[in-house]
């Protein structure tokens, strides 16, 4: 396919300054904007059609900011509604693949800019953008049998459609929140990082996402469907051997095989006895602090040290390499949101130290557990002795013995 501009991952990350954009869509200056992917039946989709409702780019005034809705409708026998968010997130990636097109955020927060350079090169119509989307979607996902892209720049029309989009987003979030390990038969494993850590294998469940933070259970499901021979695959979870610690016969079987026999039992929700392994890509480490018999978390971007005086890089050396290390678990930061976050060990209620940045980011969840103001940060303490003092002073529930381990 020939387009006026070039395509490829080399254009991701190019930002377009205010002086350089021809037009802008969405963003904080604009009230009505959203993007949405919907699975429809084949009769409802006209393959490779691009429709524009409202003005096209060449009819808009240069330098202006405009409302926009992007609708991707797909049909295909092997597609499932759960894949809609995975497909929808691709709009961001594909847009950024376009030379001179920039896309930020998702859902009803989207913000796009088209550069003057690319407009000059001939990218002056949403039609071409739609053709690019159709081209890339069908290139990457052969399970899409029919695809239709619609752009709406008519503000009234967008305003009308927005509420139903918001409902869809909310329903997805609710489903993701509510779905638990108990509700599904299939878990996923990922061995993408084995070229660096040959014995490591991530187990991904609705309550436990991959250590790198890039894949949750839904992502893995979609990835497995789209690339059945890839590094991500589904497996039957098997018998639940220990619901609290998160031990499943299916998972044990998988890790025994994938770790070259190095270990054959894994607890998905505990840092002791048979903890989950890590390669080197994890976003954070949940670590045990023996002096207070509780846990802290340190993340990759944190430049300082733990109360014990250790840097992330030092601790990462022990945690990585595909070994089961008690009391030192690599994790994704989003794991903090999970209801089963190290539940066998006390979960969030056993956290006593966090970098301030993390504490603020997950404030809501920590408050819900009643521990937000009981957790020390690098601003409160600078060594273990001070940590002990702090926790006693604020009356941390774990220290006070008030936390009951479930089950």
């Amino acid at each position: 396919m020939e387009f006026h501009i070039d395509l490829g991952p080399q254009y991701e990350g190019e930002s377009i300054r205010k002086e350089d954009f021809y037009v802008e869509f969405g963003g904080s200056a604009v009230k009505y904007k959203f993007e949405r992917a919907t699975l429809k039946s084949p009769e409802e989709v006209e393959h490779e059609k691009v429709e524009i409702i409202g003005s096209d780019i060449k009819d808009l005034e240069e330098g202006g900011s405009y409302p926009l809705a992007i609708l991707i409708d797909v049909a295909g026998e092997e597609l499932e509604p759960d894949m809609e968010p995975v497909i929808e997130r691709r709009i961001h990636m594909y847009s950024n693949y376009v030379e001179g097109l920039w896309h930020m955020a998702q859902r009803n927060d989207i913000w796009l800019r088209l550069s003057k350079n690319s407009f000059k090169k001939g990218l002056n119509s949403l039609r071409e953008v739609g053709e690019i989307y159709n081209f890339l979607f069908t290139s990457e996902i052969p399970q899409i049998e029919k695809i239709q892209t619609t752009f709406i720049t008519d503000e009234k029309r967008i305003e009308e459609l927005l509420p139903s989009a918001l409902e869809v987003y909310e329903a997805r979030d609710a489903r993701a929140r509510e779905l638990k390990d108990e509700d599904v038969d299939e878990f996923y494993y990922c061995v993408l990082c084995q070229s660096f850590a040959p014995t490591h294998c991530c187990i991904v469940t609705p309550s436990r996402l991959a250590n790198c933070g890039a894949m949750n259970w839904f992502d893995c499901k979609a990835a497995y469907k789209l690339d059945p021979e890839g590094p991500i695959a589904g497996f039957p979870k098997g018998e639940c051997l220990d619901p609290l610690k998160g031990e499943f016969s299916g998972a044990n079987k998988i890790v025994a095989e994938k770790s070259l026999g190095n270990y054959d039992r894994v607890y998905l929700h505990s840092a002791f006895e048979h903890p989950h392994t890590s390669c080197g890509c994890f976003q954070a480490i949940c670590f045990y602090i023996p002096e207070v018999d509780a846990f802290g978390i340190i993340h990759r971007d944190y430049g300082g040290v733990t109360p014990a005086g250790l840097k992330f890089s030092t601790m990462a050396g022990d945690t990585s390499g595909g070994k089961q290390v008690e009391g030192s678990c690599g994790m994704a930061l989003e794991l903090l949101r999970s209801a089963k976050f190290f539940q066998a060990d006390g979960g969030r209620k056993r956290l006593v130290w966090l970098p301030k940045e993390i504490k603020e980011r997950y404030k809501e969840f920590l408050e819900a557990d009643g521990v937000y103001d009981k957790i020390a940060t690098e601003e409160d303490v600078s060594n273990t002795d001070e940590l002990v003092e702090f926790l006693e002073k604020v009356g941390h529930p774990w220290i006070k013995g008030e936390v009951e381990l479930p089950g």
């Binding site: 396919m1 070039d6 395509l7 490829g8 991952p9 080399q10 990350g13 693949y97 081209f135 890339l136 069908t138 290139s139 990457e140 061995v191 993408l192 990082c193 084995q194 070229s195 660096f196 850590a197 040959p198 014995t199 790198c212 890039a214 690339d227 021979e229 890839g230 590094p231 070259l260 390669c279 080197g280 890509c281 990759r300 890089s313 990462a316 050396g317 990585s320 390499g321």
Partner: protein, 768 residues
Amino acid sequence: MAEVKAITRKEEEVRQLIKAEIPWEPVGPTPMPEIPDLRSWDMRLLKTYKPWYAPFCDLCCLCTYGKCDLTENRRGACGLDIATQQARIILLACLMGCSAHAGHAGHILEFLIERHGPDKKIDMGTFIELEAPNIRTVTGLKPETLGDLKAVIEYVYKEITHLLDSTHMGQEGSYLDYESKALHASMLDHVGMEVADIAQIVGFNYPTSVAETPMIEMGWGAVDKSKPVILLVGHNPATSCTLIDYLRDNDLYDKVEVCGICCTALETTRYSDRAKIVGPLSRQLFFVRTGIADVILTDEQCIRTDIPIEASKAGSALIATLDKAMYGLEDATDWDTEEIVKQMVEDKKHFAILDPEKAAEVAAKVAIKIAPQKRKEWITEEEATELAKKCTNCDMCERVCPNLFSIGDGITEVAKGNFDLIKEQFNLCIGCGKCEEECPKQVPIFKIMQVAASKETWKIRAGRGPIMDTEIRNVGAPLTLGTIPGVIAFVGCSNYPDIEDVADMVDEFARRKYIIVLSGCAAMVAGMKKDADGKTVYEKYSPDFDAGGVVNVGSCVANSHISGAGIKIANIFASLPLRANYEVIADYILNRVGACGVAWGAMSQKAASIGTGCNRLGIPVILGPHSSKYRRLYLSRKEEDDWRVMDARKREIVDTGEPSPEHLAYVCETKEKAMVTIPKLCIRKNDTPQGRSIKLNHYISLYKKYMGGGLPEDLHLFVRRSADIPLVYKKEVMAHLKEIDWQPKEPVGLPTLIGTYPTKVPIDAVIH
């Protein structure tokens, strides 16, 4: 099959030298390896990356039985054939390179131990714990003090003697074994370089563990010629740092301008960010002939051997400060300072002064005295036009030009008052002066070129030394997942087809999110081009060792940090032990680290040993067209060669059929072709599907840009399964693969050569 051997006295001595009793890691199989110890690894490399010889000379002239004609399979009087003769010369070149750095290292180490004592601790900063990756891996020693480095450099000296021995008449008769020895010498070069740069960083307090080093001013325009100017030419910072100290201590630093050419400029600007960089080697003769320098201080390597004559012609004073190059000058090291100054100023004599402090004092005093007497103006365009009229277009200049262009055409244009052509040609000039020497009309070509020389000032980052351990850890995940498509190192001298080539390549690949590292003359020229916003690549991109980052590690000896980064990836990310474990680490880098060197303007023997040292470690290098004159490359024949590996997970040999990397030492004729070849040489067998698809994206995208569209002819060799195909080209590639009846193959998760050839290393060693 292996017998239990008693430890020999030699082995015991080695264990003592490397302090084997300190258990920071178990000692691997080859501590302080000698010529035969890594030979089986070399032979395995050479089996796939066969030596390709382009004899530079049909004869051998080394002994008095010669000259011997070696064409048509003739053997010399000693029995040597043409291939073995080329390999011998390559070994000699690599030995010269290795000795250059070992000599520099030994000298600077003595100098700094004299200053700080042998117990001065090696501290590379907060973010670097792995202080000496090459030394640890090759020797098995973890150096903690400057004194510890002595045992390392003495080991290198010893090996040089044995290697040089084998170049004597009537020694090695196998070109493969000469290559193995060249690989050995070159591995040792990286060790010597590391000794030098660690000593310098520690002894001179260079920046380390910091990415954002200061910006330095570079170019003719950066030099303030209203002040007395001292020019440093060479490589050894003992002279330059001492000079800066002297000027500071005597409150002269504001009053005297210090500038440098070649690596010494990169060293000096790590010590003081107020020093200026004139440019790389190719600008040496120009600048000397302008007479802008009042005093020239030389130390060693890559200096004009007739510099005393040129200095005299230009009215500059010259002091030779190192025994490697004394030019037949009187040795005034023990003379009275004032006497030397007097003779230099009044009698215009040049001297050798081997004491850096005395040299610094004399230089400063002489510069201050003679500067007011000199006229330092560039010639005007009118003057140039007049001088150019002498040219008769005889084209003798074109005949002797090593870069094969006609400066005579440019001069003819200048005679008409037109300066466009000569400005372009200045970028092609490598500064040898042969044109002017040959000109029958004595046209002062170099003088006329002053109007062509850009008076611009560019910004380049000061050399920052090693890559930090934290940076290595940070890029591990993106390198695996493929968001960083590879690491490209632009290194080497300034014998380019066009000086802007390197800047263009750096910009293209930094934009595409490769990690770019630079050193030496290449680091300088990369900064000698400004984009539409007036920025050099150092201003445009971040200085972090990360996607799209542009990192200047420093001078020639800082090349050890580039090989060091590969070693760090093996240790920090894959947890492989380093100690005396060279073979396993090289095997890891060859099979699993997507790195490629580009020595676009390689000219010297040092460049030969640096490149060959990278090769032994498993890093491929692309060279510019002049480098066909090195006489030897390491090429595979694509599908025809042996691409079997051991799958260390499954313990079985797999025939991957995938030439990755395809060559170890290659020549591209043009910058355009280099752009297409670089992404291909970053492909490795253990690429994840994402990683492979991003690498192929760049390969295909650049192919389309420079080869007129279509798909690379060898693309099918690099597609294992359809998940490897980049999204944007998926439909086109799938159609093409179908046409040629391509079959998918299983990717190998843990590829290694260990287990495919006879070696003492067990397969378990490649998995930690």
